[in-house]
Structure formats: structure tokens, C-alpha cells
């Protein structure tokens, strides 16, 4: 809270935005019954995390006198984006198949393997 009050944009601001996005994603995943909604929640969670990586890796935000972390943060972010894209492709394929079999995308109906 102290950092926000100074008016300067710092890592903490990014972290707050990231945390909000993460929480929103989690909530979205927990409450959405539509499979596509759940996927969107996942994207939110991943991008919330991405924001943290980029913030920590930014030399600009690192401030005077501190050694930059290099491109580590950006690389990790790109990695996550890549993963998200792959995951989205697989997840959409599953969803499509699910729809073909059950004529719905309601995740609550996807309980064929329940105990």
C-alpha cells in the first residue's frame, strides 16, 4: 500500500494487477459451468502469472543501482504463452469431442469417470 501511495509505478503495482487477474481466473474456473468459460479462466490465471514474470524481469522496473535480471522474465513469459497456446488447442479439441458425444459443453455433465 505504501508503494501505491508514492505514485511511482513499481513492481508492486504489477503484482497487484497480476494477483487480481489470477484470482479472477480462479473464480472463473470455479464458478463457470461452460467449458469455454473455464478455459478463459485458465487463460486469466496463466496471464496473471505471466504479468508477474515480466514485472520481475523488467530492467526498467528494477530501479537504479540494481542489476537487471536480463531477459529471464520475458523468456519465461513467452514459454507460458507457448504452453497456453498448446494447452488451449488440446483443451478445445477435448471440448469439441465432449460436445460431439454429449451435445453439451457443461462441465458438470462430464462425470462419466466419477467414482
Amino acid at each position: 500500500m505504501m508503494l501505491i501511495a508514492t505514485g511511482t509505478v513499481s513492481v508492486a503495482h504489477y503484482l497487484v494487477v497480476g494477483a487480481i487477474m489470477f484470482t479472477a481466473g480462479i473464480v472463473c474456473m470455479a464458478v463457470k459451468r461452460n467449458a469455454l468459460g473455464v478455459l478463459m479462466g485458465i487463460e486469466l490465471v496463466l496471464n496473471g502469472a505471466n504479468l508477474n514474470f515480466v514485472a520481475f524481469g523488467s530492467s526498467y522496473l528494477a530501479g537504479e543501482g540494481r542489476p537487471p535480471l536480463g531477459l529471464d522474465g520475458e523468456v519465461m513469459a513467452l514459454f507460458v504463452i507457448l504452453l497456453a497456446a498448446a494447452e488451449a488447442a488440446v483443451a478445445l479439441a477435448i471440448t469439441l469431442n465432449f460436445y460431439n458425444n454429449h451435445a453439451t459443453v457443461d462441465v458438470d455433465r462430464a462425470d462419466d469417470l466419477r467414482g
Binding site: K32, L113, R114
Partner: protein, 840 residues
């Protein structure tokens, strides 16, 4: 080819041909012609070949050792009766040798060239004049060494002298006759046989395959074994073939083994012979342990390659002029304590050996080794007692009648029983006067007991069996009283007339289908060949002849025995009983033999049914009868020029036995008379007249009882009822053995089997039961505890799985909540637990 190579070759081949026949019939017997009929041809051809080879050997022998009458006469004149040595100590053996060669010897002493020449002469013809030389001609050698351990050696070898050649001819000749006869006699075996004497439990008649080829197979092996004994060059080889003869007799006596009586008789013969062989083994060990050699003649020491003296040379050394003495080996063996005392005194082995050999003569004087030599002799004789059916082991021979009749003829004449007498004759030089006395008494008892039993027997073969036992007793007695030639001469003549008698009885049985003489009678009319030949056999066995002119073969041999026994009883008045037994035995023999002949062939038929069915046997059976009858007449004759069986035997007279010998030893003072003294006028005349009178009396008595019923046999039997009963029951010997040996053995067996059943079986059953109990307990534990634990583990896993699967709801949103809540919970927990470290 020189004679020392030729004789072993000829006789070795004659010995092995029957073995080849045995092997051939063993493998190909059933395929030889229809039903194995060719086996008879093979076996007969083999034994004929042996006969041919044996005859060739005889010719070769006579070619280089002619039997001449001159030598006989010379020797007779040269031998004087020996006077008892007054100064004889307890161990003195004094033989007075009066042959010219022996005198030469004395002059030469030993070490001279003469001694060496004599030694070499052993294997060459150094004794052309035969009798004058002290040592008989013998060819010795080994074919094959079985075992060598240090200086001990066991080998297959030969010892060939005149008796070997003679026995080969006799054995193969009689065996040939019997083979030919058996080919006719055994023809029933060519087809399946219905044996009426076998009782099946179901009551049905018993039918089996014919065993024609098996009969001839065993016959061949029998001949091979017997010839092996005859040719054997050492006692170990004798023992091996001795046992082979035993097993062959077992095969053949038990030929009809389905009959209880036959299998029992075979076992009895075998077991009784084992008793005798046990004694023989003891004798063998005494000699083997003391002397380290079992060779009869000289052999080669395997360690040094030097010549080694054989048993005969050791017991009758040449340098002692073949006088009997205890060999140094036996003396030292017996004086083991003294040797140990010397050894304890110190000194190296060479010195000790020197000391021992120096001390041996002294020890010999003290009597060391005398008993050992006695035991060795009696031990070897024990084996002969078993094989030659002497008292007390004669019980097997009458039962051996269970075999087919040709086997009886073979067993009773040329093989098996002859083996015992032959061995005593072969081993004669080693037997001490004490052993000879034992032999004489055993022979005397045997001849008397067996003759009395034969008087009351009604089975035609049993009469002959007991007569065989009796005649074997004669031979043993003859050998025992010093009649070496007389005993072996009787062995040869007896072989001919006894095989003749048995084959005749076989012919009678073949015609009448019964053994019982009480159902026969008058058979002369229907069986002339058998009747006449059997009459010849009977006359031969009783020793019929015109005194001092000519006679049947038995006349010569029996007279020789009688004369020797008479001389023996003259010189040893305390043993007169032996002569009485011989003379009385001659009377009884004549009686029972003619009783047999009269009951069978003379008079009127007692059983018309049997008589009507009787017929003369086929020619294959009568031809051997005629041939043997001729030999039963002439076998004892001495041809002009001196050739004859006794002359041939005289060539092999053991060294040092040609003279009279007086000793005082374990069994008192004994004089073994020189055999030639028994030919002296007074003795010979008395013996011949006694033999003639007793035989005539026996025949007349038999005629009075069975030909012209002047005396009623049943009346006589009733008059001496206890004696008659005693004899009919064969002196109760079988019962005695049954009581003394068989029943106690059975009782012990019953006790032991009871112990086995009651104690050992129960113990084992108890152990098994306990094991079973423990096992069932174990099984219960396994099923309840172990299985329970394993099942419980599975059950718990199952239940936990059932519970946990409730969590798997399949609701995606719920999962997300779990993840979130879980993550938060981990964070909270980690924060709480690791607060300090985080704070630090």
C-alpha cells in the same frame, strides 16, 4: 609248435568252445530252428569240438610222455615200505624216498647244476622216464592277469599234467554222450509243456512255453565251468569256476522251477554248497595270507620278475626231496608274536627279514604253522565236501534228482561231484597226513551211510543218487588213505558207469513215466538195449570180474581202493574201521545195485498198465548207452605195453608221495602207506578176494530176495523194523538238519519279523502319524492365520478404495475448489509451521 605251447592252446580252446556255445544260445537260442531245436545241435557240436581238441591234447601228451609198463614195474621194485620213525617229534615229517633220482638228489645236495636242470625240467620234458623222477611233468602258465597288488597276483592260468588231460577227455566225452541223449530226452520241451506236477492255486492245469534251448544253454555253461576247474592254474581260478559250477547246477536242478520240489531242491543244493564254500574260503585265505600265492605251479613274481615257487613247491620243496614241510611263509605268519619280538628289538627291515628267515627252521621245529597248514587243507576239503556230497553235506545230492535225468547223469558223473574229488587230488601235495585222515574218515562215513540208505530207496533215481554219494565216499577215502591213483582212477571209471546208469534210468523213466521201482519189473523183454547196458553198469559199479584175470572197469579201481585201505589199516591198526567200511560198503553196493536191476528188469511186471506202455527208447538215446557201456567195461583195462588210465595217472603222481610216510602230529601217529606197496602180493590178493566175495555175496542176497523169492523183503523189513524205519528215513539227517538249523533259523526269522512288524513298523507308523498330525495343524494355521492376514490386507485395501472413490465426483469445478483450498491450506500450514525460518 612245442608241446608247452600246444597243450594250453588245445585245452584252452576245448575249454572255451562250450562258452561260445553258451553265449550263442543265450542270444540266439529261440531263433535257432523251430522252437529253438537248433540249440541242441550248437551245444552238441561245441562239446564234440571240445572232445576232439581234448583227444588231440591226449595224443600230443602221449606222444611226448608215453605210458610204459617198464617204468611202472621199476618203481614198484624200487619202493620199500617205510618204517615208522622212532625219533619223530611232534612236528617231524620224515619221508623216506627210495627212488633212484631222489638218491641222486641227496648226493648232489642243492645248488648243483642238477637242481637247476630239474627246475627247468618243470616246463620241458625233463622227465621222459616219468616215474623215476621225483617231480611230475606239468605245464604251467598264465593267460591273463586279473589283479596285481604288490607281490600278490590273481590270474587266469593253466596247470596241465596228465590228470588235466585225462579229465578233459573224460568230461567232454561223457558230456558229448549226454548232449546227444538229451536231444532225444528233452524233446517234450520243444512244444508248450503241461506240467502235471505243478499245483496252481486255481486248480487249473499249468502250461508253459518249452525251454529246450535254455536246457542246452545251461548245459554248455556247465561244461565250460567244469573244464575251467580242471584246467585252472591257481586256487582262485578254481574257486571262481567252482562257484560257476554251483550256479549251473542251480539252473539245471531247478529246471522245472514251477514245481515246488524242484525249486526247493535247487536252493538246497546251492545253500548246502555255500556252507562248504565258506570253509574253502577260510582255506584260501590261510594260504593267501601266509604264502601270498595261490598258484599251483611256479609263477613269476610281478614285482621282481623272478620265478616264484607255487604252492606245491612251497609245501614240498625240491631241496628237501619233496618231503612235506610247513612253508616258511606260513611259519612266519603263524609266529607273528615272535616276529614282532624281533622287530621290537630294532634293526632295519633287511636285517629283520634276515633274522626271520634264519629263525624259521627253529620255529618250524616248535610247531608254528602246523595248525595253519592243517586248517588250509581242511578248509579246501570243506569245499570238496559240499561239491562232492560228503557227510555231513551230502543231503543236497539225492534231492538234485528233481532236475531232468541227463542233468543228473552229468552232475553225478563228470561234473560237479567230480570237481570235489578232482580238487582233493589236485591239491594232494599240500594236504598233511592229518588232513588225509580227516578225509579218509569223512569218506568212510559217507560211503557207509549213503550205501545203507540206498538199500531201502524205491525211487530208481534216488538209489543211483545214494550210490553216487557212496562211490564219492570211496574216492575220498582212497585219497585219504594215500591212494592217490586209486581215488582218481575210481573217479574216471565211476564217471563212465554212473553216467551210463543214469542214462539207463532215464530211459526207463522215459518209458514208464514213473520213478517208482515197485511199479516196474520184467522190462528186459521190452527194453533189451536199456536192460543189457544197465546190467553192464551194475556189474561195473560192483567191481565184477574174474579175480586176477579180467574185469569190468570198477573191478580195477575198486580193488585198488580196497588194497590201499587194507594196507592202511595194517599199518595203522587203530584205523581198521576204514577198511571195514570199504569192505562192508562193497557188499551193500552189490546188494542195492542188483536189487535195483532185478526189481526193474527181471521177474514179472508188477504193474501191468506201466508194462504195457513201456517201449524201447529211440536210437538217439540208446546209442550213447551202448557207447558208455563199452567204456564202462574197458575204461579200467591196462593194455599190453602198459597203456591205461592208471598208468596215465601215475605220470602225475604228486612229488614226494610215492613213498610211505609216517608222522606224529595233531591227530596222533599216522602212516600214509605208499600206494605201490598195496600192489604187493599178499595185500593185493587179499583185497581182490575180499572184493570178489563181498560183491558176490551182495548179488546173491539180492537175487535171493528179489529174483527168486527165497527171502521175503517185507519179512526182512518187518524183522528189523527199527533199522528199516531208520534207513527209510535216511538216517533222519534231513530231519536233524531241519531241527538243528532250519527250524531255529525260521524261529529266529519269525522273532525278527515279529520285531519288525511290532516294533519297527509301529515306530515308523507312529512317526508317520505324528507327521500327519503336525501337518494338519500346520494346514489349519496356514488357512486361518496366514491366509486371514493376507485376506484382511486385501479387504482393507478394497474398502479404503471404495471409500476414496467417493471423492472422485467428476465435477470439474469442485476439483478446482479442492486445488485452491488445498493450496491455501498448504500455504497456511507452511506459514504456521516454518514461521521462524521464514522470519529468520
Amino acid at each position: 609248435m612245442s608241446i608247452e605251447n600246444l597243450l594250453p592252446l588245445l585245452l584252452g580252446l576245448a575249454w572255451l568252445v562250450p562258452l561260445a556255445s553258451f553265449v550263442a544260445i543265450l542270444f540266439f537260442g529261440p531263433r535257432m530252428g523251430a522252437h529253438g531245436k537248433g540249440a541242441a545241435t550248437v551245444a552238441t557240436a561245441a562239446i564234440m569240438t571240445s572232445l576232439g581238441l581234448s583227444l588231440a591234447a591226449l595224443v600230443v601228451w602221449l606222444g611226448s610222455h608215453p605210458v610204459t609198463v617198464a617204468a611202472h614195474g621199476d618203481e614198484h621194485a624200487a619202493v620199500e615200505a617205510a618204517a615208522p620213525d622212532a625219533s619223530s617229534s611232534t612236528v617231524r615229517f620224515v619221508a623216506r624216498l627210495t627212488e633212484p633220482a631222489a638218491a641222486d638228489h641227496e648226493a648232489d645236495s642243492h645248488g648243483g647244476p642238477h637242481g637247476d636242470a630239474h627246475h627247468d625240467g618243470h616246463s620241458t620234458e625233463g622227465h621222459g622216464d616219468g616215474h623215476a623222477a621225483a617231480k611230475p611233468v606239468a605245464y604251467v602258465g598264465d593267460w591273463y592277469t586279473l589283479y596285481t597288488g604288490g607281490s600278490l597276483q590273481l590270474s587266469i592260468g593253466w596247470y596241465i599234467d596228465a590228470i588235466t588231460v585225462l579229465m578233459f577227455v573224460v568230461v567232454t566225452f561223457i558230456a558229448t554222450c549226454i548232449h546227444i541223449y538229451a536231444a532225444g530226452y528233452m524233446h517234450d520241451e520243444l512244444h508248450p509243456v503241461t506240467d502235471g506236477e505243478v499245483q496252481l492255486a486255481s486248480g487249473a492245469t499249468f502250461t508253459r512255453e518249452g525251454r529246450f534251448h535254455r536246457f542246452f544253454q545251461a548245459l554248455s555253461l556247465f561244461c565250460f565251468s567244469m573244464l575251467g576247474i580242471v584246467i585252472a592254474g591257481n586256487l582262485a581260478m578254481v574257486f571262481v569256476f567252482w562257484e560257476l559250477v554251483g550256479i549251473c547246477s542251480w539252473f539245471l536242478i531247478g529246471f522245472y522251477f514251477e514245481r515246488h520240489s524242484a525249486s526247493t531242491a535247487a536252493n538246497k543244493a546251492f545253500i548246502v554248497n555255500r556252507v562248504g564254500d565258506f570253509g574253502m574260503l577260510i582255506g584260501l585265505m590261510a594260504l593267501w595270507g601266509g604264502l601270498g600265492t595261490l598258484h599251483f605251479g611256479d609263477s613269476v613274481d610281478p614285482t621282481t620278475g623272478a620265478a616264484r615257487p607255487g604252492l606245491f613247491e612251497l609245501v614240498r620243496p625240491e631241496q628237501e626231496h619233496h618231503a612235506q614241510q610247513v612253508p616258511a611263509g606260513l611259519v612266519a605268519f603263524s609266529a607273528a608274536d615272535e616276529v614282532a619280538r624281533l622287530a621290537n628289538a630294532g634293526g632295519n627291515p633287511d636285517e629283520l627279514r634276515h633274522q626271520v628267515s634264519a629263525a624259521v627252521p627253529g620255529w618250524r621245529q616248535q610247531g608254528y604253522g602246523r595248525w595253519l597248514l592243517f586248517v588250509a587243507g581242511v578248509g579246501i576239503f570243506c569245499g570238496c565236501v559240499g561239491k562232492s556230497a560228503q557227510v555231513p553235506l551230502f543231503v543236497w545230492l539225492p534231492d538234485a534228482m528233481e532236475g531232468p535225468t541227463p542233468v543228473s547223469a552229468l552232475v553225478h558223473s563228470a561234473t560237479m561231484v567230480a570237481a570235489g574229488v578232482y580238487l582233493v587230488g589236485r591239491f594232494f601235495p599240500v594236504l598233511t597226513p592229518d588232513v588225509l585222515l580227516v578225509i579218509a574218515y569223512v569218506g568212510g562215513m559217507t560211503l557207509f551211510i549213503a550205501a545203507t540208505i540206498a538199500v531201502t530207496a524205491n525211487d530208481i533215481k534216488r538209489v543211483l543218487a545214494y550210490s553216487t554219494v557212496s562211490q564219492l565216499g570211496y574216492m575220498m577215502l582212497a585219497l585219504g588213505v594215500g591212494g592217490w591213483v586209486a581215488g582218481l582212477f575210481h573217479l574216471v571209471t565211476h564217471a563212465f558207469f554212473k553216467s551210463l546208469l543214469f542214462l539207463c534210468s532215464g530211459s526207463v523213466i522215459h518209458a514208464c513215466h514213473t520213478n517208482d521201482m515197485r511199479k516196474m519189473g520184467g522190462l528186459m523183454r521190452v527194453m533189451p538195449y536199456t536192460g543189457w547196458t544197465m546190467l553192464v553198469g551194475c556189474l561195473a559199479i560192483i567191481g565184477a570180474g574174474v579175480p586176477f584175470v579180467i574185469g569190468f572197469s570198477g573191478y580195477y579201481s575198486k580193488d585198488a581202493i580196497l588194497a590201499q585201505a587194507l594196507l592202511f589199516s595194517r599199518l595203522n591198526p587203530q584205523h581198521t574201521i576204514l577198511y571195514v567200511a570199504v569192505a562192508g560198503g562193497a557188499f551193500i553196493t552189490a546188494f542195492y545195485m542188483f536189487r535195483l536191476w532185478f526189481m526193474t528188469f527181471a521177474g514179472t511186471p508188477r504193474d501191468q498198465h506201466v508194462f504195457d506202455h513201456a517201449h524201447e527208447s529211440p536210437r538217439v538215446m540208446t546209442t550213447p548207452l551202448v557207447v558208455l557201456a563199452v567204456l564202462a567195461v574197458i575204461a579200467g583195462w591196462t593194455l599190453p605195453g602198459g597203456f591205461g588210465v592208471s598208468g596215465l595217472l601215475e605220470q602225475s603222481r604228486p612229488a614226494g608221495t610215492a613213498a610211505s610216510l609216517t608222522t606224529t602230529d595233531l591227530l596222533g601217529t599216522i602212516t600214509i602207506p605208499a600206494e605201490h606197496d598195496s600192489h604187493a602180493g599178499a595185500i593185493h590178493v587179499q583185497a581182490t578176494l575180499t572184493a570178489f566175495a563181498t560183491a558176490l555175496a551182495g548179488v546173491l542176497l539180492a537175487a535171493a530176495m528179489y529174483l527168486k523169492p527165497i527171502v521175503s523183503p517185507s519179512g526182512v523189513a518187518a524183522a528189523v523194523r527199527p533199522v528199516y524205519t531208520f534207513l527209510v528215513n535216511r538216517w533222519y539227517v534231513d530231519e536233524l538238519y531241519d531241527t538243528i538249523f532250519v527250524q531255529p533259523a525260521l524261529r529266529i526269522a519269525r522273532v525278527v519279523s515279529g520285531f519288525d512288524r511290532q516294533v519297527i513298523d509301529r515306530l515308523i507308523n507312529g512317526l508317520a502319524l505324528a507327521a500327519k498330525r503336525i501337518a494338519s495343524l500346520d494346514a489349519w494355521f496356514d488357512r486361518t492365520v496366514v491366509d486371514g492376514l493376507v485376506n484382511a490386507a486385501g479387504q482393507i485395501t478394497w474398502s479404503v478404495g471404495l471409500e476414496l472413490k467417493q471423492l472422485q465426483t467428476g465435477r470439474l469445478r469442485q476439483y478446482v475448489m479442492f486445488i485452491v483450498v488445498g493450496t491455501v491450506a498448504i500455504f497456511v500450514l507452511a506459514t504456521l509451521l516454518f514461521r521462524t525460518s521464514l522470519a529468520g
